[in-house]
């Protein structure tokens, strides 16, 4: 049962994002060894550069790093929230096989997002529309994926709320009246409503109370096992990474400094920065 190395779901090559005008030296003069993201010659900010990794179906990949490491930037580019400076992203789902999805038309990108991706943001306001009811928010994603039957939509939304342990009576309530943890759970319901093969989670429990955090993380864990969805989990919190991920990328100043199996990163870190990070866990 040798692993098939062509079986990847997502392949990222040379993904780079630079703010401002860069010159030929901008990438060389920034990075973890120089401890800076800012190019000394042009003042441009290298948010991330030369990012390469693969994600296999059903795998959970963690991206960990401190502020300014570039971890959120990567996920934002993959979800088309941010435009890349350069790079290729291949998505192994028909009919996009072999095409760089970053270079598709905005209409195609929207279709990819609606049918094949899900995203949960740190701030529920980014992922939910607070003018719509929680059911309406989930309906938005279902409608984008092609469901136009109100009865079915409501049934599916109720089912998803039940799965994420939100009281189903709150289907027609506005998320503005929910607690932070419940808002996150509505966001998660919305993100998985179209059963995407790929789910992004960007600092989803940062800012939540500890007990709520535990519940949300556990929910994500269970959903991942049930649905077999591939996930990219961005966090600065190593315990979240430990709980959810199979593999991890460690980032500093916009570059990947180490990648490996999560337990190996946490128990046998090789790179000095990773060792520093791991030894700093409270």
């Amino acid at each position: 049962m040798k692993h098939n190395s062509e079986n990847w779901l997502l392949k990222v090559e040379g993904l780079t994002k630079i703010y401002g005008t860069a010159n030929a030296n901008s990438i060389a003069k920034t990075g973890p060894e120089l401890d800076t993201n800012i190019c000394p010659e042009t003042g441009s900010i290298v948010a991330c550069a030369d990012i390469n990794f693969e994600l296999y179906p059903g795998e959970v990949l963690g991206i960990v790093g401190e502020s300014g490491s570039g971890k959120s930037t990567i996920v934002k580019m993959l979800y088309f929230d941010l435009e890349q400076t350069s790079g290729t992203v291949l998505f192994n789902k028909a009919p996009y096989v072999g095409k760089n999805i970053l270079e598709q038309t905005s209409r195609t990108k929207r279709q990819i997002r609606n049918h094949l991706m899900g995203m949960v943001y740190q701030n529920p306001r980014d992922g939910l529309n607070f003018k719509f009811t929680s059911g309406g928010n989930i309906a938005e994603k279902l409608i984008m994926a092609g469901n136009y039957h109100v009865g079915n939509i409501r049934e599916k939304a109720t089912d998803l709320l039940h799965k994420t342990e939100v009281p189903t009576l709150r289907l027609d309530d506005l998320p503005a009246h929910f607690s932070g943890g419940m808002q996150q759970r509505v966001q998660i319901s919305k993100a998985i409503s179209n059963q995407p093969p790929l789910l992004f989670l960007d600092e989803v429990t940062t800012g939540l109370d500890v007990s709520v955090q535990a519940k949300v993380l556990d929910l994500i864990r269970v959903l991942q096992q049930e649905l077999g969805v591939a996930m990219i989990v961005v966090s600065h919190d190593l315990s979240v990474i430990r709980m959810l991920t199979d593999r991890t990328l460690v980032m500093k100043n916009g570059r990947i400094v180490e990648k490996g199996l999560t337990d190996q990163i946490l128990q046998d870190p090789q790179h000095p920065y990773t060792q520093l990070l791991v030894s700093s866990i409270l």
Binding site: R110, N129, G136, A139, K141
Partner: protein, 300 residues
């Protein structure tokens, strides 16, 4: 009193200068080529204020010719103050024949109604539009709504219909129900009642929409598919006039106005003034043929 001779001697045929007329015509052609798509246009200054029908007037004045016969209605009536003023203005600026007769007119300008009597292939219907953007109620920003149209990303619109259903038990849009044109763009048909919306579908006439204040033109060419937005299980329906009848003709199959008299009595009367006149004169005008109206016949 200082006599205002400025426009008496210096206006062109149809008031607007030739270069601007050309621009409006070209934009109208583009609008017809892409049904339902909002085309930005110059929206020149007119001697009436914004919000009083400048858009409809722009379209009329750009397309009207000396042999046209012009009719204008306001909420179905030829006799309203604004309809009369605009009719006089067009007549003065062009010298064309004006009429109250729907069948006789070649250009019909309207505010918020389609005529009850069926239209034919030699007619152009011009709408005065307050808000051309159907998505404005769900998205404030113009650059976002443009992007939504470009990407056919109408989910927010659908969700707002869903929310109305959830909150009120039915979709509550009475006037200006959003429609999908030619299977591609969602369009605002101007605030016409739901009663009139099915008459845009597969129509024999050309329908041109002008929004002067917002500076947009759009169009529905003849025999184009125009579908009101509806879910698979929550369908579009026209207004229900069951139990009422026009008190002057006894007609039960037209859009009715509700009138309150000083003595407190309430009467219903047909809204389209020319249609009402024809019925009273026993002239048998032919009504639009759409399956919502046909269903009324079956129920009667």
């Amino acid at each position: 009193m200082i006599e205002d001779k400025k426009y008496e001697t210096q206006y062109r045929f149809a008031f607007i200068d030739e270069a601007t007329k050309k621009e409006i015509r070209r934009k109208l052609l583009k609008a017809i080529a892409v049904p339902g798509y909002q085309v930005p246009y110059s929206s020149p200054e007119m001697p009436i204020a914004r919000g009083w029908g400048t858009g409809g007037l722009h379209v009329t004045l750009a397309i009207i010719g000396p042999t046209d016969i012009f009719k204008i209605i306001d909420q179905g009536s030829d006799a309203s103050v604004n309809a009369c003023n605009l009719r006089n203005f067009v007549q003065t600026m062009t010298g064309v024949e004006t009429t109250l007769d729907t069948q006789k007119a070649t250009i019909i300008q309207t505010r918020h109604r389609i005529t009850e009597e069926a239209l034919s292939t030699h007619q152009i219907f011009v709408y005065q539009v307050p808000q051309p953007e159907p998505l404005r109620s769900v998205e404030r920003y113009e650059n976002k709504t443009r992007q939504m149209h470009a990407e056919a990303d109408y989910a927010k619109m659908w969700v707002s219909l869903y929310e109305q259903y959830v909150r009120h038990g039915d979709i509550m849009m009475g006037a200006g129900y959003p429609v999908k044109v030619n299977g591609r763009y969602i369009m605002a048909p101007s605030p016409i009642p739901k009663w009139d919306v099915p008459n845009l579908n597969n129509s024999k006439a050309i329908h041109l929409f002008g929004a002067g204040r917002e500076k947009r033109l759009y169009a529905v060419p003849p025999f184009t598919k125009v579908e009101p937005l509806e879910f698979e299980d929550i369908k579009f329906h026209i207004e229900d006039f069951k139990g009422t009848a026009c008190f002057r003709t006894g007609n039960t199959k037209a859009f009715l106005d509700e009138l309150y008299y000083d003595d407190g009595s309430k009467h219903f009367v047909i809204n389209d003034s020319n249609y009402l006149d024809k019925l009273v004169q026993k002239e048998n005008p032919i009504q639009h043929n759409n399956h919502y109206l046909n269903q009324l016949d079956n129920e009667a």
